[in-house]
Symmetry: C2
Subunit: 147 residues, 2 copies
């Protein structure tokens, strides 16, 4: 039960885009620099984000990526699922039952419920929440004292 680097890096990249909304597209290089991520690996991670329809790409010079829709409309579960591929791939082979106790399936009794808890947690939060929290923390860290 650990958090993959795919999820962590992917989330950082999406946050970078959320913080930059409105201006020109951000290149992978810029995202990697801002978030301290390995550039070439990030390039690889952003592909599933594009395929999932979470970001939009612009090729060529001055190209890059922007969020495909408003940060309010992208849940953190969208992001994690895009880069990790549905996570619950541990399909349960209940019918056969060989590895299960008769009439009892640990996958269903425990792990699916845990997954549901995690999904609920992530689905209840959007990129906008993260963005706003980041902005609030930034302004608190560097308040303007000029009167």
């Amino acid at each position: 039960m650990r958090i993959s680097t795919r999820a962590r890096y992917g989330m950082r990249a999406m946050l970078a885009l959320a913080l930059d909304q409105g201006s020109a597209p951000l290149s992978v290089k810029q995202i990697a620099e801002r978030q301290g991520l390995p550039e070439h690996y990030l390039e690889q991670l952003i592909t599933p984000l594009r395929r999932a329809g979470l970001v939009q790409s612009a090729r060529g010079a001055q190209g890059g990526y922007v969020l495909a829709r408003a940060a309010e409309a992208i849940t953190l579960q969208d992001v994690v699922e895009a880069v990790e591929g549905s996570f619950a791939t541990e399909a349960c082979d209940c019918p056969d039952g060989a590895p299960h106790l008769r009439g009892f399936c640990l996958e269903h009794a425990l792990w699916h419920r845990l997954k549901q808890t995690v999904d609920d947690f992530l689905a209840a939060r959007t990129l906008a929440d993260l963005r706003d929290e980041a902005l609030a923390a930034q302004s608190a860290a560097a308040p303007v004292y000029d009167i």
Copy 2:
């Protein structure tokens, strides 16, 4: 964010022991057979369970493992943490701040909270809960109709 086989196999092994409480110790071979787990790998997983004080071993012929304390006193978090090693090993390097936005740390703002949610979920359940649920499912699947 996926569930490791260490956690899944370790949990199954512990459940097997919880269901067997009171009789002779279970050997790794027996546990592996009952739960359909790779025997040699399980042997490797049970070592951290022993070191964490969750199971007690008896060496030699007729040896094996028993729960070190009552199933009611072993939370699922105890089990997962024993086999996975605290899970939150993603120590945050906030002070330096290089990979973080100024005054904002995604590890703390998101992943630590998610971890806390998972920990709460697992800590609120004990092996006894799983055992009782398994027993209930078994008797429901094979009810006694003799009057």
